[in-house]
C-alpha cells in the first residue's frame, strides 16, 4: 500500500461516520402505549421515563415521573427505553425497561417498592424489548437472550420453580401472555411455547415460519401470533393448533383491535386487515384491505363504536369503518414524532402516544384528533 492509497483510505475512514450518517440506525426509544388506571393515565413522556398524569379535558398534569432525575437515588438509573405498558395490581404497577431491569412502583408517588435502590439489570441476562405479564403472585418477562424470568410480585426475587430463568432458542421480544394457568412465550426463532404455570412444564410448542416479535390474546380460545415474514397465525390456546394462517402484504408486527370474533390490524406495507375468526378458520372481513397510503403500521389498532382507529409512522391517524373497511377520515399529526405505540380505546375514544412523548386523543365520532397538553413533567 503506497502513501497515496493510504492517504485516500485514511480520509475515507475519517469520513466514514459522516458518509454513513445517511443511513440512520435507531437506538432504543421504546413504544409503550398509554395505560389507564382509575382516573390516571401513565405515559412514557420521554425516552425511558414514565409519568403518571391526571387528565383534565385537553390537558394533563404529571403527578410524578420515574426515574426522577431530581432525586439523587434515581440519577444513576438508565432505563434506555420502555416497550411494554405498565401493568397494575393493587396499589402498585409493574414496569419492564429495556436496559434497566424490572420495577415495582407505588402508584401514588411512583417510588420503587423494589428494587429498593438502583436497578436489577445485573440479575437479568439480556435486554427486555417487551413488557411484563402478571399471574397469581408472580410477574413474568422475557429477554433478548431468550430467557423468561418469573419473579415474586412481593419483593422481586425469583418465584418458586423459577429460581433459574427458563431458556428458549431465540430471543423473547414479545410480552408473554397469560391465559388461565398457561404462560405463552413467543421467540424470535419463530416458536410459540405454552408453559404450565402450575409446574413449569411445556404443554405444547408451535413453530411459525418466521420470527414472532409480538403476541396478543384474542380470547380464552385464541392467540394472535404475527410473524415478521408476513404471516399472521391464529393459534388455539388449548393445544397449539392453527385456527388460521393469513398472509398479509408485508410484515405484521403489531397487536390487534379485537371486537367479538373479529380482529383488525395493520402491516408494514400500509394495509389494514379485518379477519373473522370462526371454528373453521379465518376469513377476511372486507373484500379489500383498507389502506393508510403505504405507511408502515407498527402501532396496534383500537376499535371504538365500530370504527377502527389506526396510527401509522407518518404519523397519521386513520378512521376506518369496521363494517366495510372504508376510510372515514385521515388526520395527520403535524406536531408529533412517529407512532409505534399501540392505540388504546377508553370511554368511547382512542388514545395514542408518539415516540417523543406527546399524547393525543382520537374521537371516532367527530373523526378528529386532539393533542392533550402535558404539564409538569420533570425531564
Amino acid at each position: 500500500m503506497n502513501f497515496r492509497r493510504a492517504a485516500i483510505l485514511a480520509m475515507a475512514l475519517l469520513l466514514l461516520p459522516l458518509l454513513s450518517s445517511c443511513v440512520k440506525v435507531f437506538n432504543p426509544v421504546g413504544w409503550a402505549p398509554v395505560a389507564f388506571d382509575g382516573d390516571s393515565a401513565y405515559v412514557v413522556t420521554s425516552k425511558g421515563h414514565l409519568s403518571a398524569l391526571k387528565l383534565d379535558g385537553d390537558s394533563a398534569t404529571a403527578s410524578w415521573t420515574f426515574p426522577d432525575k431530581n432525586r439523587s437515588d434515581d440519577k444513576k438509573l438508565e432505563l434506555k427505553a420502555i416497550y411494554g405498558a405498565p401493568v397494575f395490581d393493587g396499589d402498585r404497577l409493574y414496569l419492564a425497561s429495556f436496559h434497566g431491569g424490572v420495577f415495582a412502583l407505588r402508584k401514588d408517588d411512583g417510588r420503587p417498592v423494589w428494587p429498593a435502590s438502583g436497578d436489577n439489570a445485573s440479575k437479568i441476562e439480556g435486554d427486555i424489548p417487551g413488557g411484563v405479564a402478571l399471574s397469581g403472585d408472580n410477574v413474568y418477562f422475557g429477554t433478548t437472550e431468550g430467557h423468561v424470568y418469573g419473579w415474586k410480585k412481593s419483593d422481586g426475587t425469583p418465584a418458586a420453580g423459577w429460581e433459574k430463568p427458563k431458556t428458549f432458542d431465540g430471543g423473547v421480544w414479545a410480552t408473554p401472555v397469560v391465559v388461565g394457568d398457561t404462560l405463552f412465550v413467543a421467540t424470535m426463532k419463530g416458536d410459540l411455547h405454552a408453559i404450565s404455570l402450575a409446574d413449569g412444564s411445556e404443554k405444547w410448542k408451535f413453530s411459525a415460519s418466521g420470527a414472532i416479535a409480538d403476541l396478543a390474546r384474542i380470547s380464552e380460545e385464541y392467540l394472535f401470533v404475527p410473524s415478521i415474514n408476513r404471516h399472521l397465525y391464529v393459534i388455539r390456546t388449548a393445544d397449539g393448533s392453527v385456527a388460521g394462517d393469513f398472509e398479509a402484504g408485508d410484515w405484521v408486527w403489531t397487536t390487534p383491535a379485537v371486537s367479538g370474533n373479529k380482529v383488525f390490524f395493520g402491516d408494514f406495507g400500509g394495509k389494514v386487515y379485518g379477519l373473522d375468526i370462526t371454528a373453521t378458520g379465518v376469513t377476511p372481513t372486507w373484500s379489500q384491505p383498507a389502506s393508510v397510503k403505504g405507511e408502515r403500521v407498527k402501532a396496534g389498532a383500537a376499535i371504538v363504536d365500530d370504527v377502527v382507529v389506526v396510527a401509522d409512522r407518518s404519523p397519521t391517524v386513520t378512521f376506518i369503518s369496521a363494517a366495510d373497511g372504508s376510510v372515514l377520515n385521515a388526520v395527520p399529526l403535524t406536531d408529533g414524532d412517529t407512532v409505534r405505540a399501540d392505540v388504546v380505546a377508553r370511554d368511547g375514544e382512542a388514545y395514542l402516544v408518539t415516540t417523543d412523548g406527546k399524547l393525543f386523543r382520537a374521537d371516532p365520532k367527530q373523526r378528529r384528533v386532539i393533542e392533550i397538553t402535558i404539564n409538569g413533567v420533570k425531564k
Binding site: 503506497n2 493510504a6 485514511a10 475512514l13 458518509l19 454513513s20 440506525v25 437506538n27 424489548p129
Partner: protein
C-alpha cells in the same frame, strides 16, 4: 438524493446479499461476512491483477521519469514528457488505484449494512424491514444471529476482550499487507516515507477499529489476509524463499528497447521488485550502469 441512490444501488443489495449468505451458511452472519469478502475478492480479481501489472509497469518507468524530471525544468514540458512515456508504455497511473477506489464504497456500505442487518434495538429491526427484498427466503432468515464464535459482531472494538483481539488483528494484518505489497519508491526519502507508513498505517487502522463494529473488523482482517495471500502469490516471499507464482508481465517492447535500466524494466525476483533501483542500489548507481 445521494443517500437514496447509495441505499438503492449499494446498501440494499449488500444487506440482502449478507442476509442471503447468512441464511445459506446456517445462520452465521460471521461466515456470511467472510464469504462476502472472498466473493468480492474473486469478483475484483481481474481488476486486482490489472492493478499489479500497472504497478509493475509504473515501477519500470520510474528511472525514466526521474531522468525526465532532471532533464526538463519547465513543469509543463516535464508533464508532457512524462505523459508521453506513459503513452509509449501503455501505462495509466490511475489504473493502480482503481480497485482500491472500488473498495471504499464497499467498505462504507458494509459498515452501514452491518449496523442495519444486526439491529441493536427493536426500532432497528423495524427499520430493517424497509431494506429487505420481499423474497420469502430472505424474510424467513430474520432476525440474524449477531454471534460468531462467541463474539457479538455488533459491538465495537473497545467493548470487550474479543474486540481488542480484533483491533490487534486489524493492525497486524494491515502491517503484513504493507510488507508484502510492491512499492514504487525510487529514492531514499520515498523509501523512508514508505517505511514510516508501514508502521503508521496499521496503528491508524487499529485505532479506527476501536470504534468499528466487530463485523467490519472481521471484513478488514479477512480482506487483508486475502490480499496478503495474493501478494505472496504475485511477489513471492523472499525471506522464506517463496518465489512468485504469478509471473510478472514484461514491459512493452517499445519501452524495453529504450529502457535504461534492464533490471528495473523487467524485474525477475521479488527482492528486485521492492525498489525500482534494485535492492541496495541508488538511482545514481543505476545511472552509472546504464548503457550510453
Amino acid at each position: 438524493m445521494i443517500g437514496e441512490i447509495f441505499t438503492l444501488v449499494l446498501l440494499n443489495p449488500l444487506v440482502n446479499l449478507l442476509v442471503l449468505l447468512s441464511h445459506g451458511l446456517f445462520g452465521s452472519f460471521g461466515a456470511a461476512i467472510i464469504a462476502f469478502t472472498l466473493l468480492i475478492r474473486a469478483v475484483t480479481f481481474p481488476l486486482t491483477l490489472r492493478q499489479i501489472h500497472a504497478t509493475r509497469t509504473m515501477q519500470a518507468l520510474q528511472p525514466r521519469i526521474s531522468e525526465v524530471n532532471k532533464k526538463y525544468s519547465d513543469p509543463k514540458r516535464r508533464q508532457e514528457e512524462v505523459m508521453k512515456l506513459y503513452r509509449e508504455a501503455g501505462a495509466n497511473p490511475l489504473s493502480c488505484i482503481g480497485p482500491f477506489f472500488l473498495q471504499i464504497p464497499v467498505f462504507i456500505a458494509l459498515y452501514s449494512a452491518i449496523r442495519i442487518a444486526l439491529p441493536n434495538s427493536p426500532e432497528a429491526l423495524e427499520k430493517l424491514s424497509g431494506h429487505i427484498y420481499s423474497w420469502s427466503y430472505l424474510q424467513h432468515a430474520l432476525p440474524l444471529s449477531e454471534r460468531f464464535l462467541g463474539i457479538d459482531l455488533r459491538s465495537n472494538g473497545d467493548a470487550s476482550i474479543a474486540g481488542y483481539v480484533f483491533v490487534v488483528l486489524v493492525g497486524l494484518t494491515t502491517w503484513a499487507q504493507s510488507k508484502t505489497t510492491i512499492t514504487t519508491a525510487t529514492d531514499d526519502k520515498a523509501r523512508a516515507q514508505q517505511q514510516m507508513m508501514n508502521v503508521m498505517l496499521p496503528l491508524m487502522f487499529a485505532f479506527f477499529a476501536l470504534s468499528f463494529p466487530l463485523g467490519v473488523s472481521l471484513y478488514w482482517v479477512v480482506n487483508s489476509v486475502a490480499q496478503i495471500a495474493f501478494n505472496i502469490l504475485t511477489y513471492g516471499l523472499p525471506a522464506f524463499g517463496i518465489e512468485p507464482v504469478v509471473k510478472a508481465r514484461t514491459a512493452p517492447l517499445a519501452l524495453s528497447a529504450a529502457a535504461p535500466a534492464p533490471e528495473a524494466a523487467a524485474p525477475t525476483s521479488a527482492r528486485e521488485l521492492r525498489t525500482a533501483n534494485g535492492s541496495g542500489r541508488s538511482k545514481r548507481q543505476n545511472r552509472r550502469r546504464r548503457p550510453e
